[in-house]
């Protein structure tokens, strides 16, 4: 009985490990497609039109930017953005 239990525990672990490996491979494939097509095409198109997503190069007299982050209506705090 003990041996049978050990066998099933081991089997369960093996199946879980197999599942994890499969999901890692599928994640990799899907995310690669999303990255190359979704991110890649958007990035290239944006760069052609001179759009930048991070402010990295501009020299300025001051780097402070207006924020004005203060108390808002309660609805605003329900939002995740």
């Amino acid at each position: 009985m003990k041996k049978l239990k050990q066998f099933f525990n081991g089997f369960q672990k093996g199946v879980k490990s197999f599942g994890d490996n499969i999901s890692t491979i599928i994640n990799f494939i899907l995310l690669s497609i999303v990255y190359l097509i979704g991110v890649g095409l958007t990035s290239i198109t944006a760069k052609i039109f001179g759009k930048h997503f991070l402010d990295m190069k501009k020299k300025k007299n001051s780097y402070w930017v207006d924020l004005n982050l203060k108390n808002k209506s309660i609805k605003e705090y329900y939002r995740k953005f």
Binding site: Y35, M56, L69, N71, Y77, Y78, K80
Partner: protein, 586 residues
């Protein structure tokens, strides 16, 4: 009204519980899971908060979360869009957790906690800034500086009564916190963990700007304006697209490859650390003076991970026009659970402020009975003190005899510092104490200093502190020079530049600890103790009696004083283990 504050998924996940505006409990998840800087959902910390008040999740009226996850996700996606195709590796590694956990936080909270009411999302730097709400000030200038929140890396504004208005910001990728972390990584230390080691290393380097060649070199990396605003030259960094931080160009600028962890530290490394600290202070003081001019406030609240830079904190009042300074015990991300909860109560719901955080003892405590049960159940040899007086006298004598004491009393501290309830105590007059503690107890780098603890009424006799002594000294967040005539008498807590990261303690905060220091003063003539956190390197500070006992049995701690019980390591040889080996294997 109960409000729960939660922070997680970046570093130092934590939870805090507020009842009618008063903080009743707070803890970081790492203390329960024993995984340093644990980032995962703080289920154990939440459960502790609820258990401490005998309430269930149904009693919680609101939950405040410490950031706006979609705004952060927008920034992460922007990084990938800007840096395509260089960001491929980080995209693959980071996206699953974003998709499965981070953007689904409401679902996670409701599922893990079985919570059915409202969740409020507060911008990350607002959650930092909200530490103003538990400060002693009615009005103050607020500065937040950290690695990065959603987009913001540095912000400032004004807090008045219940309201906070952050006026200006500096956005990602320029970040003073990430500059500090990048050099930390370059010096071979772990990011988001060992920045304080670089701070501790800096006094060993050249602190003359003209003579320190690395000062000029690192100045090339950052464009600093007179108003304290700054911009990083991103060609020296790769953190915006890779899972490492310094670029090859930065390595070339600093004259060598990234230092391998545990390899020898040379004068070059010391000089780089010194240059970085000088630049950090230069930017900080410029920011603060600019903010003072803008806000005309005499009070300052500093928050964000950079608020842990106690060397710079100790110089703020001397180098700026501010008269009073405050930061909470955990100005980093761990403290944002407190900030989020307070912001919900005071600002969103508009309730008056009625609480000032005077001490950091917000964590779990264990009754005398439960500790006795633990000792008996595990056949641990111990003796019991008759009363507190005997306990104080015996402990002070042991410390005076150069014994190392594990001190486990009352409620665990909130924040990264042990402040006298989960501390290792030793004699600062013993010239060998630093070496002994570093090698046999903490197993950490030789250069790292130990902190002195002194009763507040004695602090000005021994330290060149600001007057009046700023409250953050209670949280061990200010470094001050030790009086010159005393430095040789307490060598183990005197850093190479004659400074000490002191903790001050008031009688009303912790009478037992206060009494112990005073008693030691009667024996030695100097009422100061070494106070270092009760852990070994790489482990979180101990939380439970088991953690404390285990830590003692693996290190050179001679005695453990746990509540009213005295446990001697030598009497319990069966439980000894080799923590030095454990640290090496980590």
């Amino acid at each position: 009204m109960y409000i729960l504050g939660i922070s997680c998924y970046y570093h130092d996940a934590s939870a805090a519980l507020l009842k009618d505006g008063i903080i009743l409990a707070a803890a970081t998840e790492e203390r329960f899971t024993r995984k340093k800087h644990d980032v995962l959902f703080p289920i154990n910390a939440v459960n502790y908060c609820l258990r401490s008040q005998n309430i269930s999740i149904n009693d919680i009226d609101y939950i405040g979360f410490y950031e706006k996850p979609f705004l952060k996700f927008e920034r992460v996606l922007s990084q990938h869009l800007e840096m395509f195709p260089l960001s491929f590796k980080t995209f693959i590694s980071s996206m699953p957790s974003w998709i499965n956990e981070k953007v689904r936080i409401t679902k996670t909270i409701k599922k893990k906690l079985k919570y059915k009411k409202d969740v409020f999302f507060i911008e990350h730097h607002l959650a930092h800034a909200a530490s103003f709400l538990i400060s002693p000030f009615k009005k103050a200038a607020i500065v937040t500086i950290d690695g990065v929140g959603e987009w913001t890396t540095t912000a400032y504004g004004i807090g008045e009564e219940n309201n906070i208005n952050l006026i200006k910001e500096i956005g990602f990728p320029s970040s003073l916190g990430l500059l500090y972390s990048t050099i930390t990584a370059y010096l071979g230390f772990s990011v988001n963990n060992s920045e304080y080691k670089v701070m501790g290393l800096s006094p060993y380097g050249l602190v003359d700007r003209k003579k320190n060649e690395y000062y000029k070199k690192i100045r090339k990396v950052i464009d600093i304006k007179e108003d304290g605003s700054y911009r990083l030259d991103m060609s020296y960094f790769i953190y915006h697209f890779a899972d490492r931080m310094p670029s090859k160009k930065l390595c070339k600028l600093l004259g060598g490859l990234v230092r391998k962890p545990e390899s020898e530290l040379t004068q070059r490394h010391n000089d780089i650390a010194a240059a970085l600290q000088m630049i950090y202070e230069e930017v900080l003081f410029k920011i603060l003076n600019h903010i003072h001019n803008e806000t005309k406030c005499k009070n300052l609240v500093l928050a964000g991970g950079c608020g842990l830079n106690s060397v710079a904190n100790g110089k703020i009042l001397k180098n700026t026009i501010f008269e009073h300074f405050w930061t909470q015990p955990d100005p980093g991300d761990g403290g944002t659970s407190i900030g989020a909860a307070c912001y919900v109560y005071n600002t969103i719901l508009g309730n008056k402020r009625k609480f000032i955080l005077n001490d950091a003892f917000l964590g779990p405590e264990f009754s005398t009975e439960s500790i006795k049960n633990f000792l008996d159940k595990n056949n641990i040899q111990y003796s019991k003190f008759k009363n507190e007086k005997e306990m104080i006298k015996t402990t002070a004598k042991l410390i005076y005899d150069n014994k190392v004491i594990g001190w486990f009393q009352g409620r665990m501290e909130f924040g990264p510092r042990a402040l006298g309830n989960r501390s290792i105590l030793a004699n600062p007059c013993n010239p060998k104490a630093k070496e002994l503690l570093n090698s046999k107890v903490k197993h950490r780098e030789k250069f790292r200093p130990f902190a002195p603890v002194v009763c507040e009424d004695d602090a000005l006799k021994y330290f060149d502190c600001d007057k009046p002594i700023p409250k953050p000294t209670d949280f061990m967040l200010m470094v001050y020079p030790i009086k010159e005539e005393l430095r040789k008498k307490i060598p183990s807590v005197t850093h190479v530049d004659g400074s000490g990261r002191l903790q001050t303690i008031k009688k009303e905060q912790n009478p037992l600890y206060y009494g112990l220091i005073k008693e030691f003063g009667k024996l030695s003539g100097i009422p100061i103790l070494i106070n270092t956190s009760f852990n070994v390197r790489g482990e979180p500070i101990v939380c439970t009696p088991y953690d404390a006992y285990k830590c003692m049995m693996g290190t050179g701690i001679d005695y453990l004083i746990m509540d009213k019980f005295l446990i001697r390591r030598e009497n319990n040889q069966k439980d000894m283990w080799d923590s030095e080996k454990y640290v090496k294997e980590q």
